[in-house]
Point group: C2
Chain length 411, copies 2
């Protein structure tokens, strides 16, 4: 949900000011105080005061800008500020349907270690999921030569319906139980604050901080892998809905009483577009039988389609057309600046084919203004883990900022 | 688009503070300074300073609270603040497909005059629309015993695709031309600032200020009359999208290559749910032929359905089911606190029938948390005109607030 623009108490204002300064520094990588003032609209005096606090807290550091960025008129070196990488380290874990991927990230946002391990089963109980996540985190830390205690936070991304503010999992395809307070359970096992979100929201977070969404206030991310997900960024904030179960693009209905979905309902977009939906069709015509793995079957079907096999083509074409219709609905509702199509699965090659985007264009409300941009960003589980780490970093940053207020009040 | 929460220059902060105080007063009708401090989070000193400015500018006034609300412990009368009704008067015009309705409103938000007049034709050229709006405004003012010059602003609501920040009409079913800068054209004719928006956004604005949305930060309004509209309120702001053509719920596709819509595309929700869509079906079976008016035909069809005539029932049932599917998609995407179904046309009785809401519930992502509330709010053109007036009032308030900053800088 978008953040309130209500100016609150003086402390809140000061914290909001610090957050804006630190995020301006993060965005710019290196930036002089005077440019922070320009970006934030704060007075130079306020920027000096806030940056002193951030320097004292060890969250940022000074750098002397290199030759290239010297003040060309006067020729003297300018002092810039940057995030202090060692200030905090965070971990992000993405639990996908077969593996878990971990990214360890410093406070600048640089990933200094990665780790991947298979899930013991495709679905785990709440308890087993907690043990698995904690063990995976420990192993990743050990491999990187650090202790879990050296970290300041853990971000966890799981597929499903998550109430992020509560760290509560209503339902996840990776879990056998519903209604698990995953955050509390993990925090009982490790000495770190834990931040949990829907994996598609974490991709949106990663796109916003490191990816194609960097310079946009409003954009939509659509992810396709085993399911279809969506992350909505409005006014620079992830929009989550009231109960944490908005942005369920994959379960919007595109056909009344249509194809059966994994969720048990009918006509969901996912039931036409996700990999299982494509293989269901292939099965009917005997294309995807036998003992090949799920991925191998999908690969073969895709190769057949590419080679011009009419039924295989028709399967992907239907998926693509339904996907185009879903995308057009997103444009008709959000009219965003940018839509990012994100994911790693290969049917994507089909789903963003020119003809699919053409169908989308023809289903969008027609005005004499350019259409929203649609950009493709393929990435794997590691980027999702980075999104989880970035989510943790946000939480850790907010805590660090609040700690400054607390320390100030103590003195 | 949601407003940025960026704290900007000192002047902006001061203006934002004034806006928050005035809107706290507007919301409460009457409120003591200390309660404004509680609501806004400002210090009592800041509230005193801001309210002095607002009093000096004549935007608010002091009232001595009545007996009932006296401070019970000390028994002395408390001084409260209220909006000064005479500070500004605004007009709102809603242009519907057959009539235009005008509401004249004081600064408190009370409507002190209404006026309705038929459109000369169902579609007007840009020039004819401007003349019609200006003439209607003059007539409404004259009837109310005031001059157009006594007003501080005019809000205009038209159906169609409107870029509100520019006052630009991409397309309207009420106009023969596309791409009309309606605001500039009207402002060239009358000495008032003009504010133009999509009619559904104005209903959302009216619901937010005077209606069922008063205590919600996030809600969705769906309007059904000649078309299907939507207004999205996120974090207290109307969300409009990048080009001003978001929230086109009526043109989201609910069936691939489905029924033909007035917009020329196929499968739009509107093409199943709007009044013309219902009559199209009725025509097929000879139910809505003859020389009766459009409204009379619709009335008769509805009476037949209510009386149990199977084909008439089936027509409304299909519309209702498609509507339920569309509503479920809104819940799946926005997970809002509240959905308000708003409009005046009678098929609504069918569209919010319990069985329709039941279908909606079964198409929503299932979590163990209560569903968003769905509330019905029937109203006529006058309420839409009030929404247009409220939109103008917002603009006029912002101008008045900026004028204070300007006046302060002059001294």
């Amino acid at each position: 949900m978008a953040k309130s623009d209500r100016i609150s108490s003086a402390t809140d204002q000061r914290e909001s000011g610090r957050l804006q300064v630190i995020s301006a520094i993060r965005k710019a990588a290196e930036i002089a105080r005077i440019d922070i003032a320009k970006k934030t609209g704060f007075s130079p005096a306020t920027v000096t005061s806030i940056t002193s606090e951030l320097l004292a807290a060890g969250l940022i550091e000074e750098v002397t800008a290199d030759e290239a960025s010297r003040d060309s008129k006067r020729g003297r070196p300018r002092v810039a500020l940057k995030i202090r990488g060692k200030a905090h380290w965070v971990a992000g874990i993405k639990v996908s349907n077969r593996t878990a991927t971990v990214a360890l990230m410093d406070f600048v946002g640089d990933t200094f270690a990665e780790y991947e391990t298979p899930l013991p089963h495709s679905q785990l109980s709440g308890e087993a999921m907690v043990s698995f996540i904690c063990d995976t985190l420990k192993m990743a830390a050990e491999r990187a030569g650090i202790a879990v205690e050296d970290l300041s936070g853990l971000g966890v991304g799981v597929a499903g319906i998550i109430d992020a503010p509560r760290g509560f999992v209503y339902w996840s395809p990776s879990m056998t139980e519903r209604n698990v307070n995953l955050r509390n359970l993990i925090e009982a096992q490790i000495p770190l604050p834990v931040f949990i979100d829907n994996d598609a929201n974490l991709v949106a977070k990663a796109e916003q901080l490191f990816g194609l969404g960097k310079s946009y206030r409003d954009f939509i991310v659509v992810t396709i892998e085993h399911g279809v997900g969506m992350g909505i960024v409005i006014d620079g904030q992830i929009y989550r809905g009231t109960r944490g179960c908005g942005a369920e693009f994959g379960h919007t209905k595109v056909h009344l009483n249509g194809a059966l979905c994994r969720c048990g309902q009918r006509g969901c977009l996912e039931a036409y577009v996700a990999d299982y939906a494509v293989l269901r069709e292939a099965n009917i015509v005997g294309f995807a039988t036998g003992n090949d793995s799920f991925d191998d079957k999908l690969d073969k079907l895709f190769r057949d389609a590419k080679a011009g096999e009419p039924t295989a083509r028709s399967i992907f074409q239907r998926a693509g057309t339904m996907f185009a219709m879903g995308l057009a609905n997103i444009v008709n509702i959000f009219d965003p600046e940018l839509i990012i199509l994100s994911g790693e699965r290969m049917q994507f090659d089909y789903l963003y084919a020119d003809e699919v985007l053409e169908v989308m264009k023809n289903s969008v409300v027609q005005v004499d203004a350019p259409l929203p941009q649609v950009k493709i960003h393929k990435w794997g589980d590691l980027m999702w883990a980075k999104g989880a780490a970035a989510f943790a970093m946000e939480g850790v940053t907010e805590r660090a900022i609040r700690k400054i207020s607390h320390d100030v009040l103590q003195h």
